[in-house]
Symmetry: C2
Subunit: 337 residues, 2 copies
């Protein structure tokens, strides 16, 4: 193991939890950043030895793109599963910030690949991440390196997504307090060289509170702060009865979801744990804002009509758009003073 990046895992006892502590020596770049805002931190001494760094799944690279010129002003990164939704978000935020392109053209910065889509308006970057932990993890590795190469500072990253709710009215927005696994533990297991390393899934609590406050000011839909269960599977992994395979009963399902609810789980999705873990390791302020499309205690299939589901999916965008606008106003006010 290399000296300047160590994950120290502490076990409470043989079965129980675990905490991850990160030590790292500050290098000259960190010291420079410390004086002018906190930057996205990569923990990889090998990167400096690379002549060029190819961000393969973005179809971008340090040898082919001036990342600092393109991305240096980014302050907010919003990520979500669907490329269409992330395009719609950039159009929405452009209008909100009064930065619309008169021709309504928002080119896909990752047009050279079909793995992810990326759009930018002013200080806001919007990136799709596909479905599931592995898919968002690839994107986040390359996003963190992009922010690092671009020397971005004070970046906030927010996942805007969809989820299944538990005991919540469909359409309720959940801001994640803690991301928990399928056994309701707040941890993410990363396999490295065949061994499992446990990482914390803590998110920024003050950011969650600010988002809740924004929702109160907006007063357009119900928002709660609660735990989010992150699973590796949509069907059996979330106790659905409508997959190709199902070996349990309706009662087994109800029992499991009620136990989740007792553990503080408000909603279920498939990316928050690795998102929280990687943002924390990188020193990025992060939040997860997901709308619930249905109450899983009452069903499994997304049978609401297209318009209703579309309306629900816009809610995290509206909330995060409001937050970004308010932050930029506050900053502009501070600058003027």
């Amino acid at each position: 193991m290399l000296g300047d990046f160590a994950e120290v895992i502490m076990w409470k006892n043989d079965l129980e939890f675990i905490s991850v502590v990160l030590f790292r020596k500050m290098d000259s770049k960190d010291k420079r950043n410390a004086s002018c805002g906190s930057s996205a931190i990569v923990h990889n001494p090998h990167l400096d030895a690379l002549k060029d760094d190819i961000l393969y799944h973005f179809s971008l690279g340090t040898g082919t793109h001036d990342l600092r010129a393109i991305f240096g002003d980014v302050k907010f990164v919003c990520v979500g599963g669907s490329p269409w939704r992330m395009k719609s978000f950039i159009e929405y935020i452009a209008a909100e910030l009064g930065m619309e392109d008169p021709k309504s053209e928002y080119p896909n910065i990752c047009a050279g690949t079909d793995r992810y889509a990326m759009y930018k308006v002013g200080p806001v970057l919007s990136v799709s991440h596909g479905m599931g932990i592995p898919s968002i993890a690839i994107m986040l590795h390359e996003l963190i390196k992009l922010l690092y190469h671009a020397n971005c500072t004070d970046v906030t990253v927010i996942r805007i997504g969809t989820s299944g709710g538990i005991e919540l009215e469909p359409g309720t927005v959940v801001v994640t307090k803690q991301s928990v696994d399928a056994t309701f533990q707040p941890k993410f297991e990363q396999v490295i060289l065949g061994k499992t390393v446990v990482r914390s899934t803590d998110l920024d609590q003050s950011l969650a509170e600010e988002l809740l406050q924004c929702s109160k000011e907006l007063n357009q839909f119900q928002t709660v702060v609660g735990n989010t269960m992150c699973t590796l599977d949509f069907y059996e992994g979330q106790a659905r009865l409508d997959g190709a395979f199902c070996s349990y009963t309706e009662k087994d399902k109800q029992d499991y979801l009620r136990k989740a609810s007792e553990a503080g789980v408000c909603n279920i999705e498939m990316e928050s744990s690795v998102f929280a873990a990687m943002c924390k390791l990188s020193g990025l302020r992060a939040a997860v804002v997901c709308v619930t499309l249905l109450d899983r205690l009452k069903g499994d299939q997304l049978s609401s009509c297209h318009e209703v589901l579309q309306n629900y999916q816009q809610r995290p965008q509206i909330l995060v758009g409001y937050y970004i606008k308010r932050q930029l106003k506050t900053k502009a006010g501070v600058s003027q003073v």
Copy 2:
């Protein structure tokens, strides 16, 4: 647990593995199918209680689409991560089978969603699955249900993908013998109601041999049969040195990859284990055919030029296209006799 679908897990000892046995009573539908070819089997007694089955991530459903009319003749399903590649495959196979659309129009059957793309020409279906186990698992649940609802019989499913190779010349095609995890064990762990169920990742060995034979006949590129390691992560999970985080040395990486090689691993990708497990559970004949884009012992970044990578990516398509053409010819021959 329900009586007609049981996974029986047998442990060799406390640490070691495991075998999964599947019991299921035949119902009337199975008996009907048994007399006229084997169909995709769902193991879910709840499905029959659904009024409509919505295949949400395909934007298809039994209430909105005549699945039997659209898909009833499907005999080969090819799946791959990239939607662009799966469109290019359908164009390629259409030409190979002499079934080109004169206007070269191959509509995306899943045009109502951006989660997956799906194309069809005659008996061949081409479906994208995104990156990683969760993403392909969602697709496979809905694909297996689609084949079931459409009453398809004798279906072969082949994943055509890209991978990192170990000690192989880049461009070599690997037909997977066994899919193994990051500890080189041939198993897939499925979490159900918070508990881990271990599933077998056996693939059809005769199909693998037939594909190898096809490659010999084609004589265009090197093809080997070997084990494929399936990981949950592209960077730390595959011992890459170029992610946002890296806590190990070049020597640690080399040691890990050499151990993988000693365990028979020829290549590394991110979907084969759940693909093998789910196809086996459904009684679908399945194979994984991936080209290696680089030798991981020599590097991590995909730095070959676009044209070279494009050429490599076509190789699984060419091999599987040849196999399908040969199968259809053989069947036509048998029918004429």
